[in-house]
């Protein structure tokens, strides 16, 4: 297991490198000039100086190396400095956003909590709903409950988040007027009132995102349970007089959960991509919103950094999914 973990980790690094190379190359290949939007009154000499100040005059492989250095060494050491009060990153240039002229990581740090709250809660709610739905659908296969759950999960696939969000706003904000449709990001949770307000404004974005998660995971849970319910050990457990609930929860569920846990880990990047859309609908100023505004403003350092961070998230969740498989199922040996 330890060997396998180390091997998987060493495989993850080249993947990350290749991905950052692709992201970088895409920006390089694209025609387009960061100086194009400056006023025409600025003389070419000054523009050349600005180019030099931004490090744009160096050849692309040098800039790629510098960018990797900033991403992999400078930013983590700034983070360590902030945590422990050391001065590892002193004198190093950080990644600077072309839009705000501040460090990119600080920008992301300001936006990350909103995204993490909404995405994390959606993932938790979605999974907590999906597991019981999947279990019961499989246990009562072809029952009315199963048919409805199947229908809902097909709808969860066919109704993309930007439309389900619109439908929920129409129902809960416009008609019933129960919940706000716009996320108030200036809200500080200081007491019971502001806490309920925070919950109310998070309800719709979380519902949209968790609908997607529930639709997907409940299907996997159902088919994994069905695979196991027909097996001999289930009949043996019944014959020994194990109660139905005990049979489901203690005998079938642990076996059926193994593939589902890796599906849950693999779905994490997908829900972050969904958050890009949801943040746009409900105007949450999270990382997805930052990505869209940076793309529109041609702020390449911010766009590159967010994209690579998302890629890192995908690689890490693939890693978790693989390792979880081995850790949960003792029959799987990686040698």
């Amino acid at each position: 297991m330890l060997n396998y973990t180390i091997r998987r980790l060493t495989m993850a690094l080249p993947t990350l490198l290749a991905i950052s190379l692709i992201v970088f190359a895409l920006m390089e290949l694209a025609p387009g000039d960061p100086m194009a939007r400056l006023p025409l009154s600025i003389s070419p000499e000054v523009k050349a100086q600005m180019r030099e100040a931004l490090g744009l005059d160096a050849p692309s492989h040098v800039r790629f190396g510098k960018w990797l250095w900033q991403l992999g060494v400078v930013e983590p050491s700034v983070w360590i400095d902030n945590l422990f009060g050391t001065a590892l990153a002193e004198g190093q240039t950080r990644m600077i956003s072309w839009q705000t002229r501040g460090p990119v990581m600080e920008l992301i740090g300001q936006r990350l909590p909103q995204t993490l709250w909404v995405v994390g809660l959606a993932y938790l709610v979605g999974t907590m709903l999906a597991l019981p739905i999947g279990i019961w659908s499989a246990y009562r296969q072809y029952s009315a409950f199963d048919q409805i759950a199947t229908g809902v999960s097909i709808i969860g696939f066919a109704v993309p988040p930007f439309f389900s969000g619109v439908l929920l706003i129409l129902l809960f904000s416009v008609h019933l007027e129960w919940l706000p449709s716009v996320y108030d990001t200036t809200l500080q949770v200081s007491g019971w009132d502001s806490f309920t307000q925070q919950l109310r404004q998070m309800a719709l974005p979380v519902a949209v995102l968790s609908l997607q998660t529930t639709a997907q995971i409940s299907r996997y849970m159902r088919s994994a349970m069905l695979d196991h319910l027909g097996q001999d050990y289930v009949r043996a457990a019944r014959a020994r007089g194990v109660s139905e609930g005990g049979m489901l929860l203690r005998h079938v569920l642990p076996n059926a959960l193994v593939p589902v846990v890796s599906v849950i880990a693999l779905g994490l990047p997908q829900i972050f991509a969904g958050a890009i859309v949801t943040e746009q609908i409900f105007r949450v100023n999270g990382v997805g919103h930052l990505l869209i505004t940076s793309i529109q403003a041609n702020d390449l350092p911010t766009v590159q950094t967010i994209t690579v961070l998302l890629a890192a998230l995908i690689v890490v969740s693939n890693l978790i999914a693989d390792l979880a498989y081995g850790a949960l199922d003792p029959r799987i040996r990686y040698d």
Binding site: T15, P31, Y142, A158, V159, V166, T307
Partner: protein, 282 residues
């Protein structure tokens, strides 16, 4: 689901899809109102005989716009599917038939699967839009760009499925017989491998049409796909959300059509899968 229900789902999906495709293809002929004709005297109207779905904030007929938008959304879906299935099939067949290419091609597939696709698609479209539209004109270039970018980022599931099928076909005795008579690799691929992987390719083609329609709508919804005056379902939905509380129909119609098309295509794909699966023929 029981086997008896499946053909029903296939027929339901096929009918619904046929209805949507026919009405968007023939609609602009039958419904004569031009898409971009503004009539500021008839702004923000509700449904009436002259405008069955009402008009928008510039007095443009919503029915005409929805029908025209369907042409683009379904067209992007179908063409992006062709690109993605062609790429995926080529890579899958190569990986399954040529042993030394198998490893590198599957690593490439894994690499593409770990790319954050939505951000990359957004970036590619924003960066390449301006230079391309200078070269080919705004409408053709954005269409080609969206189709290419969606196709180039969605071939991975097809490649994996096709590779698996090809590997199993390559182990059959008729392929061995063809080889022993000295048949060339290309002939084996076109005469034996491709016909026998057909059903897998068709199923993944239907799924990739559905995915492409959703991706295109997402791009347009984020305001980074087709330009504002260009009616697509995603764009109409995006424009409609601004008037959601007063004129909900403007967002509901295009949204419902996106969902219905995807639903119909998924049903067709599911039905075809069960038909192609010999385990269900019993």
């Amino acid at each position: 689901m029981t086997n008896a229900r499946r053909p029903l789902a296939l027929w339901f999906g096929a009918w619904l899809l046929g209805l949507i495709v026919l009405s968007t293809a023939l609609g602009p002929m039958l419904w004569g109102l031009p898409v971009d004709q503004m009539d500021l005297a008839a702004r923000n109207q509700g449904p009436s005989a002259a405008h069955p779905l009402g008009t928008d904030q510039l007095g443009r007929d919503l029915l005409a716009r929805v029908l025209a938008g369907g042409r683009i959304s379904l067209g992007v879906g179908a063409l992006a599917m062709l690109v993605s299935v062609a790429l995926g099939t080529a890579i899958g067949v190569l990986a399954g038939m040529v042993r030394w290419l198998d490893g590198p091609l599957m690593r490439l597939t894994d690499l593409f699967l770990s790319l954050p696709l939505l951000p990359l698609v957004l970036i590619a479209i924003t960066l390449f839009r301006a230079p391309l539209s200078a070269a080919f004109g705004p409408e053709t270039s954005i269409f080609v760009l969206v189709v290419t970018v969606i196709g180039a980022t969605s071939w991975m599931p097809t490649a994996r499925v096709v590779r698996g099928e090809v590997l199993s076909v390559m182990g059959r005795s008729y392929v061995m017989a063809a080889r022993s008579t000295g048949t060339r690799g290309v002939t084996i691929a076109t005469r034996h491998v491709l016909p026998n992987t057909r059903s897998a390719i068709i199923v993944s083609a239907t799924l990739s049409v559905a995915a492409a329609i959703i991706t295109e709508s997402t791009l347009s919804f984020l305001g980074l796909g087709f330009p504002p005056d260009f009616a697509t379902w995603g764009r109409l939905l995006f424009d409609g959300t601004a008037y959601l509380s007063d004129y909900p129909g403007r967002a509901l119609w295009p949204g419902a059509l996106i969902s219905l098309s995807v639903l119909a295509i998924v049903y067709v794909g599911d039905g075809l899968r069960d038909r192609g699966d010999p385990r269900n023929l019993r």
